[in-house]
Amino acid sequence: MGNGTSLGRVRGLGSSHHGAHHFLASRLSAVGNLVLIPFLMVSLALMPAHDYATVHSWAAKPIPSTVLVLIMINTFYHARMGVQVMLEDYMHEGSGKIASWLLVNTLPLAGAAFGIISVIRIALGSA
């Protein structure tokens, strides 16, 4: 980033030619959520009961556990981008901006990893 001309001062700021990818990825993952989240909601609504045995045996079946893993990937990716846009709009400088960067680059990944491990344990474990 230069410090001379007015163009040099702003070059490299903003989306830096990556905005279109962010825009498209947000919308493509939204289409994924449009299938995945209603599947989860309808499945939960149609369950005869919500005790451990019923819910666990449902989640352990191949299609539900696949959907749950896809939610951990796709929905966390979508949420990460949405939260990033929100933070970019309100956190402009200093420690708040650094903390926001850390938040969107660590928490969604950690959450998704925990979710995927949990689904795999349900699907493959004997418990």
């Binding site: 919308r27 939204a30 449009l34 989240i37 909601m41 609504a45 919500h50 005790d51 451990y52 045995a53 819910v55 666990h56 989640a59 749950l68 939610i71 929905t75 966390f76 949420a79 990460r80 949405g82 939260v83 929100m86 959450g111 925990f114 979710g115 491990i117 949990s118 689904v119 344990r121 349900i122 474990g125 418990a127």
Partner: protein, 141 residues
Amino acid sequence: MAQTRSNRPLSPHLEIWRWGPAMLVSILHRVTGNGLAFVGLGLLLWWIGALASGPESYTAFLNLIWIGEGGTIPSLTSLLGKVVLVGLTWAFFQHMATGLRHFVLDIGAGYELNTNARWSVVTLAFAGIATALFWAFVLLR
């Protein structure tokens, strides 16, 4: 800058404006999206983690957020849990409807003032009705 000051009114003015449906659903899209991201995905992880940890932890989770047996604290948290779950359902339907509205706006349609206001109101009505129908189905069937 080539801009010169004039006496023409600023639009939108910093203070003189009134709420319209498009503004409301625009900010609701952000609020519901971030609510779903933090509260919804947080609850999803708590749920799946409890389910993966065995019957005791799942029963404890279910008691805290829905059943509320065994004292004042579970009965309070289960009340909060029900409010949060209904709120999350509404937030999902609202975010989904305004998201679909964004798909239409992305292709360049629906910017006429009346059309834009009408479809904004439709997303609000859809989210309210869908939430009511979903919980009516869950609780009354």
